[in-house]
């Protein structure tokens, strides 16, 4: 190998080692930065979950950025001149290799240059690139590894407040509170213990709901809707059971008339169906052994078998057959009928027990539902409080022109004799008046204050009809559940506002010609009203007014409210 080849090959080897080490180091550094960024986002996400779209966008950017970084670094190449300078520095060769490399490319042929190249080649042969540039695991790689492990732990550890971030699962729509989670656990235990529940479909639905609640896939509204449905299905048999138990009581009363069946009747009176079944079997056994029965047993059994309630037909039929067996003196038939009746009672006992379990489950569901509602309400209050903090001047903007305008409207309604009270014909008349305020720029900014004022004036006669307006009259908007899209997008309500007519000065003159009418019209447009609506006394106490003046409309509903009032705005007559 010539001196030139020796030097070039050595430099290529050095450049390769340098490039690889540099690549490892820079990729480790870059990766650690990327992983730390993801960790920061994950920690922030644990505190305040991001929307799934944001997470997906973040991951797309994250992977794209990482890929771009890696490609950029991989494509980065160093020159042999750089490698020569570096190896000179590393091996303390005092620029021997870099000088020789430069002479190889630029130097004129000269004995002294050849000597220099020859000496440099000898030096290059002694160089060990792998020894000079050993593979070293950069410290940043440890940082990256720790970051990755932390990220995985935070993603896969079933923390009560976390969820998988790696797989871009959506942020939970609903994070269960402690009470809700506790109720959910109890419900799960109840379902596991209660095989007698039957109704596999409902149980399956309930289990799916529990899983969805734990994973946070459902919104509060959806969860409550599902809970209510399952609850209804669990309680479906309650009326039947009540009827059956009542019917069994009646049968027990009848059976208590006979000495032989009195224990059965008493057991039925205590709603001890299994005890009653045992008593019936004992009676059947006695009859089967030929023991004498009381004289009124036949009549007692016939009476008990009469007019059975729904669900007790089979029992009544068995009792009737037993009575018929007594009448025909057929001991075997009596014994069989009584044994059948005992089995029927046992089945009824199972059914009652199953229903009781369902009732317990339904009760548990009701508690869970209540807990979720409470949690939802607290979230809304917290959101409203944040909104007030974010816009501390929001409420104070009302008392200016807007409040004055509102008071004028109140006064106008007060002169109609019913301030703040919806008339039977027009229960939302005041709302429409407020809507006029909302749509009266520029004094009144839509979506800000004024929505709270509506609540002061309007007491919806029917909570459902009033779009879930808070019953307290604070003007708070729907809480999120029970507010279907149909209600949002329904046909706009048409409301007529009755305003007191005020005679203008021009109108006091007699209208004789069409020109006079036009003058009056023009004057009425220009003349301001002299009616003072501001002095209308409020029926609210100061505490109520202070409460009602608070703007507690969640931010996300403000547009909806504005749209609503714009929709019900009185239309000009065609």
């Amino acid at each position: 190998m010539s001196d030139r080849e020796t030097i070039v090959q050595t430099l290529k080897a050095v450049e390769s080692r340098i490039r690889t080490n540099r690549l490892i180091r820079r990729i480790a550094t870059g990766l650690s930065v990327f992983v730390l960024t993801a960790l920061v986002i994950k920690v922030l996400d644990l505190a305040a979950p991001f929307p799934s779209a944001a997470i997906r966008a973040f991951w797309v950017l994250w992977f794209a950025g990482l890929a771009a970084f890696v490609i950029w670094r991989v494509r980065e190449r160093g020159s042999l001149a750089d490698a020569a300078a570096e190896v000179d520095h590393k091996a303390r060769l005092k620029d021997e290799i870099s000088s020789a490399y430069w002479f190889l490319g630029h130097g004129k042929k000269n004995p002294w240059i050849n000597l220099q190249i020859h000496r440099a080649a000898e030096t290059a042969r002694r160089l060990d690139p792998s020894g000079l540039y050993p593979r070293v695991i950069p410290p940043a790689s440890y940082l990256a590894a720790v970051g990755i492990v932390l990220l995985l732990v935070l993603n896969f550890t079933p923390l009560p407040f976390g969820y998988s971030f790696v797989f871009s699962r959506e942020a939970p729509e609903l994070i269960l509170g402690d009470r809700s989670a506790e109720l959910l656990d109890e419900l799960v235990e109840m379902i596991e213990d209660a095989e007698a529940l039957g109704q596999d479909e409902v149980v399956e639905q309930l289990q799916e709901l529990i899983a969805a609640l734990r994973s946070g896939e459902l919104t509060a509204a959806e969860a409550l809707e599902e809970l209510a449905e399952i609850q209804d299905r669990f309680e479906e048999g309650n009326l039947d059971i009540a009827s059956i138990m009542e019917g069994l009581g009646e049968i027990g009363t009848e059976l208590s008339q006979s000495e032989d069946t009195e224990p059965v009747g008493e057991a039925l009176a205590r709603q001890n169906l299994l005890g009653a079944a045992d008593e019936l079997r004992e009676l059947a056994e006695q009859i089967g052994q030929g023991e004498q029965t009381s004289a009124n047993l036949e009549q007692t059994l016939e009476n008990a078998a009469e007019n059975p309630r729904p669900g007790l037909e089979d029992l009544a039929e068995q009792l009737g057959q037993a009575a018929e067996g007594i009448r025909e003196d057929d001991a075997q038939a009596i014994e069989d009928a009584l044994n059948d009746a005992a089995r029927e009672l046992e089945e009824l006992a199972d059914m009652v027990e199953s229903q009781q379990l369902k009732n317990d489950a339904a009760s548990q569901l009701a508690e869970l539902e209540e807990a979720l509602r409470e949690q939802e309400r607290q979230d809304q209050e917290a959101a409203a409080a944040e909104g007030q903090d974010a816009q501390p001047e929001q409420g104070s903007q009302v008392p200016g022109d807007q409040l004055e305008q509102m008071q004028m409207d109140q006064g106008q309604q007060g002169e109609q004799g019913q301030p703040g009270q919806p008339s039977p014909d027009d229960p939302m008349g005041e709302m429409s008046a407020a809507a006029n305020d909302l749509n009266a720029p520029p004094e009144f900014a839509p979506g800000e204050a004024g929505t709270g004022q509506m609540g002061q004036q309007v007491q919806p006669p029917d909570a459902d009809a009033a779009m879930n307006f808070d019953a307290t009259g604070t003007g708070q908007m729907p809480s999120g559940f029970g507010f279907s899209p149909d209600e949002k997008e329904g046909a706009p309500t048409s409301l007529d506002v009755l305003l007191e007519e005020e005679t203008t000065e021009a109108q006091s003159a007699e209208i004789e010609t069409e020109e006079d009418a036009e003058k009056i019209e023009e004057a009425s447009r220009e003349q301001r009203s002299k009616l003072d609506y501001r002095n209308v006394p409020s029926e609210l106490t100061p505490a109520q007014q202070e409460l009602l003046h608070q703007d507690r409309i969640p931010r996300e509903y403000r547009n909806l409210i504005r749209e609503y009032f714009q929709a019900i705005r009185p239309r000009p007559q065609p």
Binding site: E86, D88, S99, W112, L115, H118, R119
Partner: protein, 334 residues
């Protein structure tokens, strides 16, 4: 061929070492000064020695001349020294026919090694008489130009303390010095050696080990050493950094310097680096060689401005800052 060059390098190193050894018989310590003086000699330059009286500057030059088969002249610069006193002049003499003729009488500059002792005591007029001799190696008197004998090597000394009655060297004169070497006090150990050698009946005397031709051959060897462009570029960037208010100037240069080093400075930098490379058994110049000679080569070429003079800035600190901040032709790519 390569073997011949290797032998040539070896000869160079040996001759350098022999001269240095002979000088060291008399001069104690001052290894760097001796190296610098020999570098100046081999680089076809001249050396300015600066130091307080009594440090052996003159002795060093005399010893060097004793070690070389060269003609030595000493000029004691005084305020009344005239240019003709050093260059020589035409004198009226009686010709063979009895008539009067003008005949040139060579001055002390007509030698190989010239000791210009306390050069700053002469007037600038006289100092300037050295300009042509130092650069062109000629002396013009009247209409006649006389070639000086080679090697021509001026060793000037000056005292930095006594400013009274002295004349700072003109910039053009300073630039003609290859190096400016600062002679410092000897160490205690070296003082003991000095006293031991000079307070006895017999003082050591150097032998003449090198003649003019050998010196000229060594000069040729120096010039043959190649230098790669990146290293030369480094030397140029250092020199350009001494120029104030230029794109390559250093911050300290902009603030304290009036003028920087000329291309002659860059030549000196490279030549000095080549000699150092040869002495280190290398046939290429490294940036380290450049850096090692930069201070001696550039310190007298950086002229301070008013602010620099007022703040008594040492030009060495400016050169050191330049060396510190000028990036070497190496990238940290590993």
């Amino acid at each position: 061929m390569i073997t011949e060059l290797d032998q040539q390098i070896e000869v160079f190193q040996n001759q350098f070492a022999v001269v240095k050894s002979e000088v060291s018989k008399v001069i104690v310590g001052h290894d760097e000064i001796i190296d610098g003086i020999l570098m100046g000699l081999l680089a076809r330059g001249h050396v300015l020695l600066e130091g307080v009286p009594g440090l052996g500057k003159t002795k060093l030059v005399q010893t060097l001349s004793d070690a070389l088969h060269l003609k030595f002249s000493r000029i004691q610069f005084t305020p009344d020294l005239m240019p003709a006193d050093i260059t020589g002049t035409n004198v009226v003499q009686e010709g063979p026919d009895g008539g009067k003729i003008l005949q040139f009488q060579p001055g002390p500059l007509f030698g190989n090694i010239i000791l210009a002792d306390e050069i700053n005591r002469a007037t600038p007029k006289t100092q300037s008489a050295l300009l042509e001799a130092m650069q062109e190696k000629t002396i013009t008197v009247g209409k006649e130009t006389y070639e000086l004998i080679l090697p021509f090597f001026v060793l000037a000394t000056q005292n930095p303390l006594e400013m009274e009655g002295t004349y700072p060297l003109p910039e053009a004169q300073l630039d003609r010095f290859f190096m400016k070497l600062k002679v410092d006090y000897p160490t205690v150990r070296n003082m003991h050696t000095i006293l031991n050698r000079t307070t006895k009946r017999e003082e050591p005397t150097p032998e003449r080990v090198l003649d003019a031709q050998q010196i000229l051959d060594m000069r040729e060897t120096v010039l043959a050493i190649p230098i790669a462009r990146p290293v030369q570029d480094y030397a140029i960037r250092i020199v350009l950094a001494t120029h104030p208010d230029t794109p390559n100037s250093h911050e300290m240069t902009n603030r304290y310097a009036r003028y920087g080093a000329s291309p002659r400075g860059a030549q000196a930098l490279v030549l000095g680096a080549k000699i150092r490379a040869l002495l280190n058994d290398r046939v290429h110049v490294s940036t380290e060689d450049i850096r090692s000679v930069a201070l001696a080569v550039l310190r007298h070429r950086v002229l301070l401005n008013f602010e620099g003079e007022a703040e008594q800035v040492d030009p060495d600190s400016i050169v050191a800052a330049i060396l510190k901040d000028t990036p070497q032709p190496r990238q940290s790519v590993a």
